[in-house]
Symmetry: C2
DNA sequence: CAACATTTGTTCGTATGTATC
DNA sequence: AGATACATACGAACAAATGTT
């Protein structure tokens, strides 16, 4: 409508065709050359149009293969409690986790502030990847105070689950204190780990988790692929009111 | 580091120079032609690099003028209560609001579900723009049940404030029930209203607000320009724990 | 206000690299 | 191994918005 340039027109045309079901999730779009012929433009103009669809999370391209329509987003709930697996099980997905690094080192400034550490305190770093139905949907980095959880690394390697590992360390329950959300672009490393085809923004969340006494026990960063996830926040009102649903 | 392509190298080089303070907020970057000469590449390659910086909210371009370094983001708090002005005042900004349309019509499916409306119920639509220091930072659309708030439109036009208008309609207080966050690309219309230069994703939030009895009184959608805002969620634990700060 | 130079935005053309099938 | 298809890069030209003279 308000479109003016060729690539904007092409972009919104294809967008409508995808939304209308003309192209279904998982389907391969016509090749760039075909689309260029169809719209009577240069291949670059088609690529410019496809780029914005890619950024919007509607499609993904694979060099040498083609351009594919993506599936709709997984809904990821962020409540008081942080339960990754349960979260995804609820939406009918099969969740899994891969850990990339588990290490212990001195904290940087932001980590010290977030966990209210004293000088000399060390932290455990737990980095990994979250998948749903074997598709990577997020990268995470969790920072724990080493003084409080001396043998957490071994537990994490064995358990694959933060909740269970913390429980084994005496934390019966923990809650989310605060979360900050922003949108960033992936680094080349992140792009590879999430198998992104560039130019898809990540929903970045910084969260601080506390035990029931209010002690800060985890400083977590998560990068969600915005083409595969949307975040849902639920207040503690939710449970009480949802019963009257 | 892990960079491989020319435009990725240029992008991270410029990014570092901006972060290091070599280019300060508000400053004009060298022209694309100059940068192309500096890096010894084609102008297209420079533009590809600048595009990712633009998407990351680091720079903004103006045709005919140049490319400028943007200021850092405003932090926008999302708590149980929804208080736009207070929110921005807290971060030292001068907030303002412009309303674009105020109307009454029949709800669509999503609005009926969100507000739990019965067939035949009408809704008031309140659309507008939020600014901080005269820079647009978000667009919003609020949907209210007309049956409960018959004269809300007049109040909104007079007040400019949702909180005050609802209070005048007998809602002493209201809270956020749930919020869904995703990232989308702006439509041409939104791009114009937010004065975006294309290709900056929007943080889109869908929220349902309820009065103290749990009745749903507002279904709101907000599109934040991700280059100007980051969202912070605070649990109700925050207040209790922050005192021990 | 008009004319002009500057600067970014769009489009086409062409060539080469690289991953997939 | 070869054909297909996307990714990167260079070159050229013009359009559109801006700022200046």
């Amino acid at each position: 409508m308000t479109d003016q340039t060729l690539w904007q027109t092409i972009s919104s045309t294809l967008s409508k065709e995808i939304k209308s079901g003309h192209f279904l999730p998982g389907m391969k779009l016509p090749t760039e050359a075909d689309l260029a012929r169809r719209f009577g433009v240069n291949r670059h103009t088609v690529r410019r149009a496809l780029l914005t669809l890619k950024q919007g999370g509607m499609i993904a391209s694979q060099r040498g293969a083609g351009v594919y329509v993506l599936h709709s987003k997984t809904d990821y709930k962020i409540g008081e409690r942080v339960r990754f697996h349960q979260n995804l099980l609820d939406s009918g997905r099969s969740p899994s986790r891969e850990w990339l690094t588990i290490s212990t080192r001195n904290p940087d400034m932001s980590e010290m502030r977030a966990l209210k550490l004293s000088k000399g305190d060390e932290v455990h770093i737990y980095e990994g990847k979250s998948l749903a139905d074997n598709v990577p949907i997020a990268l995470f980095k969790s920072v724990f105070p080493a003084k409080r959880f001396p043998d957490l690394p071994e537990k994490l390697m064995a358990n694959q689950s933060v909740t269970i590992s913390l429980k084994a360390s005496g934390v019966a329950d923990y809650k989310r204190l605060s979360t900050q959300i922003s949108a960033v672009l992936p680094s080349p490393t992140q792009r590879g780990q999430l198998k992104l085809n560039q130019d898809i923004p990540l929903l970045k969340t910084l969260s601080i988790n506390v035990d029931l006494l209010g002690n800060r026990i985890e400083f977590g960063t998560t990068w969600f692929a915005s083409d595969r996830v949307s975040l849902t926040l639920e207040s503690h009102l939710e449970n009480a009111l949802m019963s009257s649903n």
